[in-house]
Amino acid sequence: MLRFAPLLAIAVLALPVIAGLAGTLAPAFGYLPALGGSEISLEPFRIVLGQPGLLRSCLIALASGVVTAAISTALVALFVGGWSETRTFRLIQSLVSPLLAVPHAAAAFGLAFMIAPSGFLARLVSPWATGWTRPPDWLIVNDSLGLSLMAGLIVKEVPFLLLITLAALPQVPLAASNRLAGSLGYGRVAGFLFTTWPAIYRQIRLAVSAVIAFASSAVDVAVILGPTTPASLPVRLVQWMNDPELTARFMASAGAVLQLGVTLAALLIWFGLEKLCAMATMRLCERGPRFRADAGIRMVALLAMATTAIAIFGGLGLLALWSVSGLWQFPHVLPASLSLRGWQQTLPGIGDPLTTTVTVGLAATVLSALIVVASLAREQETGRSGGNRALLFIYLPLLVPQAGFVFGLKLFLVHGGVGANWAALVFVHLVFVLPYVFLSLSAPWRAFDRRYEAIAAGLGKGRGTTFLAIRLPMLSRAILAAMAVGFAVSVGQYLPTVLIGAGRLVTITTEAVALGAGGNRRIIGIYAFLQMLLPFLGFALAALVPALLFRNRRAMKIA
């Protein structure tokens, strides 16, 4: 049985992507007979490259990927280094972890209302401190350099990387390393970066790459916070895809290929940066400075971490307030009146989307977890991880911009007579959920100390018993965390759900974006709340179950 698990995983990941890519690549080179393209040509690329402001769109996408990953990773490293095993760490950890459950779009809306010139921060200080009775005409949200966009991405990626890091922490001798570095006179942060971080980074490296791929091709956050003159490449890509003119399809497909190149370029730049950082760390390490005075940098890391939590929670709190507010004008800090109109209008229609979201999410997550655990168990038996080729398969769905290959995939499904049904939707979600589950779980799985199993074998226990009694329980925290990530990914899927569900199967997220298109902050608030609630429940379960299971196992607790 296990033998087929890796094959199954590869089939689930690769077939849809390859089919979708074929449906993207062929039109990119002018070939799609049904739309009147019967000759291979570079014309679509010529048209794309001739689009005004294309270079700038590409650069924004590229910068979003690299900058977001750099700042998020640095922040997580400094924070874990500076504060692990402290009460503050646990406090911030419990504050930041739930943020992972917040869908990108909801976080972006919340952030936008915080920082806009007519937003909450400006209202707090107006008019008594600023003299503003009208909002100032300042370009903050949608700024030309994409700084708001990157901020919106960072506040969402930091919790993701922190959670992945926390899942990796039990696999490294953190406390012992800290003590050792401390006894040699190193400051906390430097000691951590020199001893523990390289081992952790090896485990979270894939997750960081996923962050780059996501940030460089994000559509929803870029629509809300990103520049518009011109917009970043992924946003324009979706616009081209939705152009009712047939000929735009060819150009859009070429654009999707370009997006693939931009994402790849961002990854390559990152790999270069990795090398530089490793070299710099090595040099510093060899020269021997102890960096004892790191109170400043620790404080910066703590403040930055707290800011991400406050920014999102504050923003969501404000959206929640909007959902029950009457008219709420600048510079009022609080709404003039409250009203339940929004909820009354929204709740009656919420049943179907809610059911679809939960059932599809659960099915995709459970299937993913089964396939991933089986594949990893098989890998452990054979000792073959499949190497880089297998990794490429896992990365395909995360690296290829959704807009590109999902349109192509839909072409295949529609032709195959597969309409908008529940199973098709689960299948498409599986394509995106499985990689995240795999990425979240593979590192802790592989880092598992196999001596435990050796001891079990030495005590005469069979493979099955060892697996069920030793490995599964000890990795249950990591498995559940991976499933929670998977469920959150499923809940947040927009484009694949809209395309494959064809509007017949709607989820909270597709409803949120469709209604959010109207810019009504009350409705956005209601859906952001619902969108957040589901993944949050998932993460709460993932945290609660191990805590209950291991309430009398001290060594299974997180520092």
């Binding site: 700038r56 518009t228 003159t229 009712p244 008219l327 004008q329 064809a502 509007g503 209604l515």
Partner: protein, 406 residues
């Protein structure tokens, strides 16, 4: 690559064979019979809660009266629905399509008509309720952006460009009465006017309004644009925008995304003048606590753009009978009167009052159009929509000039 192409060609060429009895709109009893038990997937913009609620009401009535189940597929852009039909046609799915009805007009309709993606000509004029439609004084119910509808879409509501301001902040006496006066006004109030970024529908409408006012020969706009004349004829528009942009909100480095975002900016006090395509929009927004109750409307005495929005049926719709019944119900005096109520939606009717029975006319006469809505005789003259080809070229030129403003 070769095998991929071969596979692609194979599936592109093959077609799905299915035999479905075609409905005949002329035989209405048969249509009603066919429609019973069908599910109609209506793809319609879902960005406005009050419109969604109205569509929800339509669904309840259809279920009760005709046994038709209506599902509102909420779109954030109608072009997505067109793209879906394009994809289905490309995949050879010529029957049993996923869309039964689309809320549509303008370039989306023109595009679908040109590509043969619409259900047969003449179905709309065969609907029983077509007899109430005002095709005489509202020529746009049969001519959509200069394109003859040929009965391939059924009118649903009327639109006219009107402007809004907050009378608590802005003095009514200084309001502009033309595009030129608007420019002068913006220069005096820098940063307090903007328009949704084209190709947003409302943003493009603003550009067409300015062009209609500034072009030397407006008759040119009713014909397809000739590419070699385009630069010369639109020069007044782009000269105008060149002058206007430095005085726009955010100095034209960013634009509101769409009408609702622009309306939110009026409520936030960031903008002083906004506009919409529905004369009752402000009254409706006030009723829903989205705008302060001091907001009022005005238009240009020289006229503003006006058009009609429709519903259309894709050629491969699975529930054509149900879609016909839905389109017919949308034209009923009862549904049209409810739609025109600003407390519900406020969208003007396409029906002719003199064709209605006394009872039905009374439904419209008793409507309170709302404090911020102009009376029909205050709405000013109407300007026709240019041919859709203008919009496409203007949007392209706009993107090249201002879409990369930084």
């Amino acid at each position: 690559m070769k095998t991929v192409l071969a596979a692609l060609a194979a599936f592109a060429l093959s077609t799905t064979l299915a035999t479905a009895a075609e409905v005949n709109p002329a035989d209405w009893d048969a249509v009603l019979k066919d429609a019973k038990g069908e599910t109609v997937y209506w793809n319609a913009w879902g960005g406005s809660q009050n419109i969604n609620a109205y569509i929800g009401w339509v669904g309840e009535e259809l279920q009760q009266r005709f046994g038709v189940k209506l599902v509102h597929v909420k779109l954030d852009d109608t072009a997505n629905a067109v793209a879906t039909v394009v994809t289905e046609k490309a995949a050879g799915k010529d029957t049993g399509g996923t869309i039964d009805l689309i809320w549509i007009n303008g370039e989306n309709f023109a595009s679908m008509k040109r590509q043969g993606l619409l259900y047969e000509p003449g179905w709309a004029t065969q609907l029983p309720n077509w007899r109430y439609v005002d095709a005489e004084t509202k020529p746009t119910v049969t001519t959509d952006f200069t394109i003859p509808t040929d009965g391939m879409e059924s009118p649903w509501g009327m639109a006219k460009l009107v402007f809004f301001y907050d009378s608590a902040r802005t003095d009514a006496s200084g309001l502009p009465d033309s595009a030129d006066e608007l420019l002068a006004w913006a220069k005096q109030q820098p940063g307090r006017f903007s328009y949704p970024q084209p190709p947003d529908f409302i943003g493009s409408t603003f550009l067409k309004q300015v062009l209609s006012e500034k072009i030397a020969d407006p008759a040119k706009l009713l014909e397809p644009v000739k590419p070699d004349e385009f630069a010369g004829l639109t020069k007044p528009l782009f000269d105008y925008l060149d002058q206007l942009h430095p005085y726009l909100w955010r100095s034209a480095k960013a634009f509101p995304k769409d009408y609702p975002s622009m309306s939110q900016l009026l409520a936030d006090g960031e903008l002083d003048i906004t506009f919409a395509f529905n004369p009752a929009e402000a009254s409706s927004a006030i009723a829903n606590d989205l705008l302060p109750d001091k907001v009022r409307s005005f238009t240009f005495s020289g006229g503003t753009l006006s058009n009609t929005h429709f519903v259309a049926i894709p050629y491969n719709a699975a529930a054509k009978a149900g879609a016909l019944v839905t389109a017919n119900f949308l034209l009923s005096p009862e549904a049209q009167a409810r739609k025109q109520d600003p407390g519900i939606w406020g969208d003007p009717t396409v029906l002719a009052m003199d064709r209605l029975s006394d009872k039905d006319r009374a439904r419209f006469e008793k409507l309170d159009l709302g404090i911020a809505t102009l009376k029909p005789d205050e709405l000013g003259p109407t300007l026709p929509e240019p041919h859709p080809s203008w919009m496409a070229m203007i949007e392209e030129e706009w993107a090249a000039r201002y879409g990369v403003a930084n």
